[in-house]
């Protein structure tokens, strides 16, 4: 999908969204006061007051975020990415590369490491931070070889009976000539079928953007978690707006209409738990956000570890089997939550 970058206000080297600005400016003022006060106690009450005001302001702004603002947060350039979480949660992670067919796709990372005291496979989409890394990782948009690498590693995890954690963060699978030539549709489809049949626990978490089939290809899990300001949708708001409204400018309307925020998906029964982010968004405190995510992953994994391989497969089947909303033969009650 052609996507416009979030409108950023640049101040120094901290990228920030327009609605973050009042808080960040207040915080700058506090920092400045702290600096000039040089420990002079007469400024302390004023600093404390401003600090409280900043927190209050942030709470107020974040309590009233629109779906489109959450989309912007899910794409925030300072947001923690898969490798940021892995670094904090799986310190002995060994990344494994390549699909053994064509190439290694840097937009998908995968490897084994110790989580909650046991060896696990972690697979996730990976965006780049610097311009160079963004290009190298194709802006986190996988090609077929990325999905085939994930399949290979997941099948290895299944054979060696290791649980699987998937971190979802992509605007979508790459829409390019080479990706089509090498079977993007087949690669995603095969990932869905393979994941559905694996006899090990799978927990996934949408940590940023959950963009369409390219996201779902890492998402056929027993438990689906979502960070507070992550989004998950069938198409990007820009894509939806340009098709249904015939106007890319209607992206905020499309974002609201598609019900793509974490709370929406919890209500629709697609997501099992919403994981709180640091106040002001995950990018404001990578460590705290990683701790929250780690705690939730550990809890869900512990429950799944009690289940036998066949029960895990069944559990996953039934989870997706019940997704959807329809009525049948005169029965007028919708079976899915409103």
């Amino acid at each position: 999908m052609a996507q416009t970058a979030a409108p950023l206000v640049r101040a120094g080297d901290t990228p920030m969204l327009d609605f973050e600005r009042p808080v960040v400016e207040l915080e700058r003022k506090i920092e400045e006061l702290v600096r000039v006060s040089g420990g002079a106690t007469e400024l302390h009450p004023q600093i404390a007051l401003l600090g409280a005001r900043a927190r209050e302001l942030q709470q107020k702004i974040f309590a009233e975020l629109t779906p489109w603002q959450k989309v912007q947060l899910s794409r925030h350039p300072a947001r923690p990415y898969t490798l940021d979480y892995i670094e904090r949660l799986v310190p002995d992670f060994i990344e494994l590369h390549g699909d053994r067919r064509f190439a290694d796709d840097p937009a998908v990372v995968g490897g084994f490491g110790t989580f909650a005291g046991m060896p696990v496979l972690v697979v996730g989409h990976q965006k780049g931070r610097s311009t160079k890394e963004k290009v190298q990782r194709n802006f986190g948009q996988p090609k077929p070889e990325g999905y085939r690498k994930a399949q290979r590693l997941m099948e290895l995890a299944a054979r060696t009976r290791r649980p699987i954690l998937c971190l979802i963060d992509t605007q979508g699978a790459y829409p390019g000539v080479d990706a089509e030539e090498r079977g993007q549709a087949e690669a995603i489809a095969t990932s869905l079928e393979i994941m559905a049949g694996l006899p090990v626990p799978i927990v996934c978490a949408v940590i940023g953007e959950g963009g369409s089939g390219g996201a779902l290809a890492l998402g056929v899990a027993n438990r689906i978690l979502m960070l507070e300001y992550a989004t998950y949708s069938v198409i990007s708001p820009e894509g939806c707006a340009s098709i249904l409204w015939r106007d890319d400018g209607k992206k905020a309307e499309a974002a609201a209409a598609m019900k793509m925020t974490a709370t929406d998906l919890l209500r629709l029964g697609v997501v099992d738990e919403v994981v709180p982010e640091a106040p002001g968004g995950a990018h404001r405190d990578h460590d705290l956000s990683a701790r929250n995510l780690g705690e939730a992953l550990r809890r869900h994994l512990a429950e799944l570890l009690l289940m036998a391989p066949e029960a895990l497969r069944n559990d996953r089947y039934q989870k997706f089997r019940h997704m959807g909303a329809f009525v049948e033969s005169g029965d007028k009650a919708a079976p899915t939550p409103a």
Binding site: A179, E193, V234, A338
Partner: protein, 284 residues
């Protein structure tokens, strides 16, 4: 269906393609010949001059493929609700009503049981006239049930896909149908029952990226557009010209993603042979 109100008639249907050419003459987009519509119909909507495959209505497809009188429709009364209360320039509910009127069906796929030269099959045929064959909860449910019935009855499964992809108006619930259908197919595959996927023009997006590209055997009609991402999206991304024949059935065959391109008039015979060669073996 009789319960449509008059005001529905004002809906703009221009974007929904009609599957059957209307009028006495039909211009062929393949060779520009002006064809007698009756002759075209008799040839199953294939241009007798250049073999261009026009769309074929689902009822006529079922007639063409299955043994006469063998089709028993299933799940015909499953209907979409509007789980998100979705509204763009029109309400989803109004789009659904308009699509039902145009297509005469409840949603974008028809499913049931039938026979091909005596071999029982569980079959699905997409209805492209219904909101571009898009997959929402109903399509996902019906396709899933095709695979589940096939498993239960030990019969091969057969799906003719024609779809623009996932149905945006059902949001993430549409997306999840990709996983649901693929999971059901996985169960069928585990017991060794074959699934033949036939790709019609066009098969794209979420349908391509799930059960359509997962056939044990994948057939396609000539020149069918088969893609994950639309050409326009790709062009916006790469800003280059697309290779000739890009994303057409012949291109996919060359790249190893199809087993065979089959002319519409040979589809039934090809399926009959494949089912005999791959279907469950008679107990002796």
């Amino acid at each position: 269906m009789a319960w449509y109100k008059r005001e529905d008639r004002e809906d703009d249907l221009s974007e929904e393609k009609r599957s059957v050419p209307a009028g006495v003459f039909t211009k062929c987009p393949g060779c520009r010949a002006v064809l007698d519509t009756d002759n075209l119909n008799k040839n199953h909507n294939v241009c007798p001059q250049c073999e261009h495959h026009f769309p074929l209505a689902s009822a006529r497809r079922l007639e063409l493929i299955l043994d006469p009188g063998s089709f028993v429709e299933a799940d015909a009364t499953i209907e979409s609700v509007d789980p998100l209360g979705f509204r763009d320039s029109k309400k989803y509910g109004d789009r659904l009503r308009a699509a039902r009127r145009v297509s005469g069906g409840a949603d974008a796929v028809r499913a049931g049981s039938g026979r091909i030269e005596g071999t029982p099959v569980e079959i699905g045929v997409f209805v492209f006239e219904f909101m571009g064959g898009s997959m929402g909860s109903v399509v996902g449910e019906k396709v899933t049930r095709i695979f589940e019935r096939a498993l239960e009855r030990r019969a091969p499964a057969l799906v003719f896909s024609a779809s623009g992809g996932a149905r945006m108006q059902e949001g993430v619930l549409s997306l999840m149908q990709m996983a649901k259908t693929s999971a059901a197919l996985g169960r069928l595959r585990e017991v060794g029952l074959p699934y033949i996927s036939v790709l019609l023009n066009p098969t794209t997006g979420g349908v391509a990226a799930s059960f359509a590209m997962l056939g044990d055997v994948i057939l396609a009609e000539p020149k069918a557009l088969i893609a994950f991402a639309g050409a326009r999206v790709i062009q916006n991304t790469i800003r280059q010209r697309l290779p000739p024949g890009f994303q057409r059935a012949e291109f996919l065959l060359d790249h190893g993603f199809l087993d065979k391109i089959v002319h519409r008039n040979q589809t039934r015979a090809t399926l009959a042979s494949l089912l005999k060669l791959l279907g469950p073996r008679a107990q002796s």
